[in-house]
Subunit: 766 residues, 2 copies
Amino acid sequence: MNQDYIKPDAWSIIEEGFDATRVESSESLFSIGNGAMGQRANFEEKYTGDTFQGSYIAGVFYPDKTKVGWWKNGYPEYFAKVLNAPNWIGINVAINEETLDLNTCKEVKDFVRELNMKEGYHQRSFVAVMPNDLEVKVTATRFLSIVDDELGAINYEVEVLNADAVVKFMPYLDGGITNRDANWEERFWQTLEVRAENDQAFVVSKTLKTEYHVGTYMQSEVTLNGEKLQVEGEVEKAEDQVSIAYAVKVGKGEKIALQKYAGYVTDMNHNQDSLIAAAKNVLQKATTSGFAQLLQEQKEAWAKIWEMADITIDGDVKAQQGIRFNIFQLNQTYLGKDERLNIGPKGFTGEKYGGSTYWDTEAYCIPFYMATKDQQVARNLLTYRYNHLEKAKENAQKLGFTNGAALYPMVTMNGEESHNEWEITFEEIHRNGAMVFAIYNYVRFTGDYSYVPEMGLEVMIAIARFWQQRANFSKNWNKYVILGVTGPNEYENNVNNNWYTNYLAKWCIEYCIENIEKIKVEYAEDYSRIMTKTSLEAEEITKWKEVAENMYFPYSEKFGVYLQQDGFLDKAIEPVSTLSKKQRPINQNWSWDRILRSCYIKQADVLQGFYLFEDHFSEENLEKHFDFYEPITVHESSLSPCVHSIQAAKLGRMEQAYTFYLRTSRLDLDDYNQEVKEGCHITSMAGTWMSIVEGFGGMRVVDGKLSFTPQLPEQWNGFSFKVNFRNQILKINIGKNETTFSVDGNDPMTVLLNGEAIEVQNTLKS
Amino acid sequence: MNQDYIKPDAWSIIEEGFDATRVESSESLFSIGNGAMGQRANFEEKYTGDTFQGSYIAGVFYPDKTKVGWWKNGYPEYFAKVLNAPNWIGINVAINEETLDLNTCKEVKDFVRELNMKEGYHQRSFVAVMPNDLEVKVTATRFLSIVDDELGAINYEVEVLNADAVVKFMPYLDGGITNRDANWEERFWQTLEVRAENDQAFVVSKTLKTEYHVGTYMQSEVTLNGEKLQVEGEVEKAEDQVSIAYAVKVGKGEKIALQKYAGYVTDMNHNQDSLIAAAKNVLQKATTSGFAQLLQEQKEAWAKIWEMADITIDGDVKAQQGIRFNIFQLNQTYLGKDERLNIGPKGFTGEKYGGSTYWDTEAYCIPFYMATKDQQVARNLLTYRYNHLEKAKENAQKLGFTNGAALYPMVTMNGEESHNEWEITFEEIHRNGAMVFAIYNYVRFTGDYSYVPEMGLEVMIAIARFWQQRANFSKNWNKYVILGVTGPNEYENNVNNNWYTNYLAKWCIEYCIENIEKIKVEYAEDYSRIMTKTSLEAEEITKWKEVAENMYFPYSEKFGVYLQQDGFLDKAIEPVSTLSKKQRPINQNWSWDRILRSCYIKQADVLQGFYLFEDHFSEENLEKHFDFYEPITVHESSLSPCVHSIQAAKLGRMEQAYTFYLRTSRLDLDDYNQEVKEGCHITSMAGTWMSIVEGFGGMRVVDGKLSFTPQLPEQWNGFSFKVNFRNQILKINIGKNETTFSVDGNDPMTVLLNGEAIEVQNTLKS
């Protein structure tokens, strides 16, 4: 926890003062991205202190040879991971032939770094006293364009404060990049071509094995006091690198600046052979516009995103900063334009978790994207999984399932499983349920049923097949049981009858059957296509029903609660509050077996089920389960506090809901888990959004209408957000005394406020 | 399975014909060792086909940096593994400057390989047609001396059948050796010195990190038709290698031979600085004796071992060959002279399992060594664990245990845990019970109680402390439970209340308390020393008792059997016989999760408990459990069939007992699991011995006397074995019609035969 490091500000993340020990953490927090690429906030100039270099291209991955202790049958051979890509931000700077390096300067003064979330850029300025006693003021501004997502731009301005001097900029491209988390220290990239032409340079590389071709490019211009200078560039080429140096003699106090336009073009979007041409095309447009104009367009584009996605919080700047940081990072990671892409748990802010897709997308991210973007975005996320259906079937087949049963991977880039811990890879199968829930959620929210006959039903059938085969009949209970699973609570492994998993399995089958019946009647053509394709017969459905209807659920009569799993009550049950601080987080202080046999829960498990299927349980029942499970939950997953925040709000426990909210929204800003240097927790940021909208706002979909039961944390004066509901934009403003609604456009919208129907017009009235 | 490859023979393992695809398997089967060192049966001459080079020195290990997928708290940093040591067997051979290499010869005829178990040597002969059309007959004889366990000797004889030719022998030493199973392809050895003097050569190396210093040495002599020749050697030295070449022009049909004396001296037994001097000393003695004399001494020494350890089987040569192979390999692996050494699961025949010590020693090997060697040998094995007690306490401390509780490692070389799969390392804790059972077994068999006050009780106390802390009180059962364990049946992981583990835990505590009370009365001085050292108070013992007396045991009223673990009856229970052949062994054909949730048992689990504590259960009860569990046991551990063989014999099911016996005794010879090329299953070979002595012989210790209930498999005419019981040698001869006993020395011995006391004299009468 590092609560006071980041300055509170409604629209910006601000760091003041240079602290070498914080460089890696700040590189994560100040990351920038545009959905197609992203990068950690590394310095442009040379830096010899501790730094974690990272620049990533969405969708470009490498199947790293997997690393395990003891091989288990069924493990995948490869762990597909997002690649640290060629570096294009680099600008070495020498002044009177001395290299600028904050790690070797005599003094670094007035260091300020700002991530301007409103306008979508990163800026860093400082005054450095160099070893040669030159005092240099630097202001570096950088952004990744969301207007042209192949383009990045840097304005790097230097002012020598105490002498005339020769300033030499050496902007470069470097293709000799490795991943910090490479399993075998292999190199992932091969450089194919290094080229320099006038002020432009190009490095064409390909990834080994996957053969993604990437063109990294740059073009630079030099200005003196804002006026463009003609300076002859000096090219230097190496095997993986190219630089073009510009040296200018400048007077004391003059402002010399380099504008660098750079980025990636890939063969995901261009012909392999025309990458350099494509890059030239981007550069042509960029240099015609110039840095100022590009930045202006960036600001306007971000304004449009904020117009829809912003949540305002009145009277609590830290809460405001937290939610905007979350919304900003989500939009930097995924903008929803491309159904080949998805949302990695760390986005473009680090390498951990391989940058791959987890069930986080379906369980946490879809609601955010569904409500703050065009509904096509959520549909793209669903289509991503539909496109992976065949791979999911292969995955299940590897584990012994037959007849087109599918098991979606725990971690994936291309549909193949990458994860390799048996207790997760093979057993954390509840993820399959999240795939179906996301479809249900999409239909419920958008009202767009067309996805189901077109794609969704095939996914549901394959998953229903999986559950039916995965359950077995227990003569002991005279019920179907699901043995050997790991629930969302990964602090128990290989358990029998995890309530959440069993509940999802039953629901998946029932929901699938319900949709088969509907499509049979309403989409006869799709029905016959799907039945032919899947060879599904009535007999098989009968078997599914048998399993769903006779599913076993562990339950305690004594406590009146569903049990997380069989045998749960054999544990010594002591609330988390009895643990000493020294023992927390237990995942850093206890051996794994001790964690497993303890009663402590990593993240919502039974309560996760109550969250997804809220309508199936009474509020009284929720309260009983919340009171049973929350006190033994350690929330050591970033995905835990948001669910608890929503449920605490529902139970009217606003103080607790607010505490959970702060924990989720400022998890990275305040570095609760002392690990932000590895990257930010991107997917859980969508949970933060839910805890405001669904928690404090109480937003639900009821009979095809939006319903709200707003509550205001007492620390706040009010808050507001917008929701795109079935192609209408609704704005909700919750104040101390009233809640007001407004709708864009000419059509009114009926919403429920605390159960009462209200017709909302395009004005602000309640 | 490869049932007819090895020729049946009572005293030898014989392979006929050269099959390149079998080279690696035969390298395992024909391994030789002398307790201090051992090696796979690699060819002396160059071989470019598939081969698995291996030469190992007992006790010399390397802490290889561990390899895991995802790190769990509590994992050890290092996996200590036995090292592939410098090669001293190598003799490159060139004839008329063409290198002899069976992989490139035009033809290989009359290839015969024999492992002469009676006399303790390995011999290989063949006629090869070389690419240059020379026809060469080779006979290579090799052994590792059990008289001087630093010495090996080779006689390599060549006869050119179809021409006069120049035969050049190039005996060499090679220190540039790697382990095939190195986790990170690191090199483990550093060569310190390479020296050649006259016909002697030396390579002094040290292991990295552990800094064992090893001198590898050789000296060669050349004979022509049996007469010593003076040939000038030509020395060649490289960074890690040294060779001395001897070239002789020989006539067609003449026999030219090289005698190579070589081996290791280490700083486990000598000063670091005097390794070469020590080697010269060995060579001096060896060359004075000469090859024939050394081989004669070897034969005599093996005769002595066989005199005591042999089991004869009349009328079943395959069974005879099997048991002798097992006894031979056990003696090659461990001779019991050195309490620093132990018995690795693969002995000196391969690298798998790191050559380290497992609970196999206590559960399977001790009975064999106890009965066929001086009782000091078994005591050395116990002392080995006593010497590791402090490390076992540190190991438990790492996992959160306190107050001197000990958890012995799953795998170790020096007392530190090496294993790193959480479900085994942290959870397969029944191994702790095996440590105590071995003490109990030792006292029961040898009558030597002195070990307990001197060392054993401290081990017991530390283990009792572990069990008391590891159990927790379940309000649900009103009993103590042990959660999150893996039993001997590793086809279930992280289960609750594994019956075997719970039973051992209770017994360990009770046996410890019983011994504390005995020592308090009978060994007052030891008692006060131990109580002071362990700070054990009456209160703590009360806590232990509370746990032991209230231990929970899963039991099925319906089936009248103890259940392997909680929830076992939720599984779909189908006998192994319903599985198709294609699915077996399931550990090669099923994904891990499928194995885990199946009912199939890898090895005796509940039945292992019935085996250890036979007296605690009625025969009727054994039968019920055997009939419940055996049909669902796949015996995919080499440690499984022997226990079942003993129990089947006890239940009078001799046909089944015999089938299990063959499976255990010829596991490697017939390559049941298609994996012998990785090495032989050494520790389970002691189980084979048990299945004859305890199974067919029915040997038990009853009230301090040996008791027998012999039964003869119908395939046999008779069998005999010897037992060293309390320093008297008893010979048992079981025939079709009678069992006869004889005892060495002048004192008679009372034994029980089918419950009746018999006084046995030093003659053969029943």
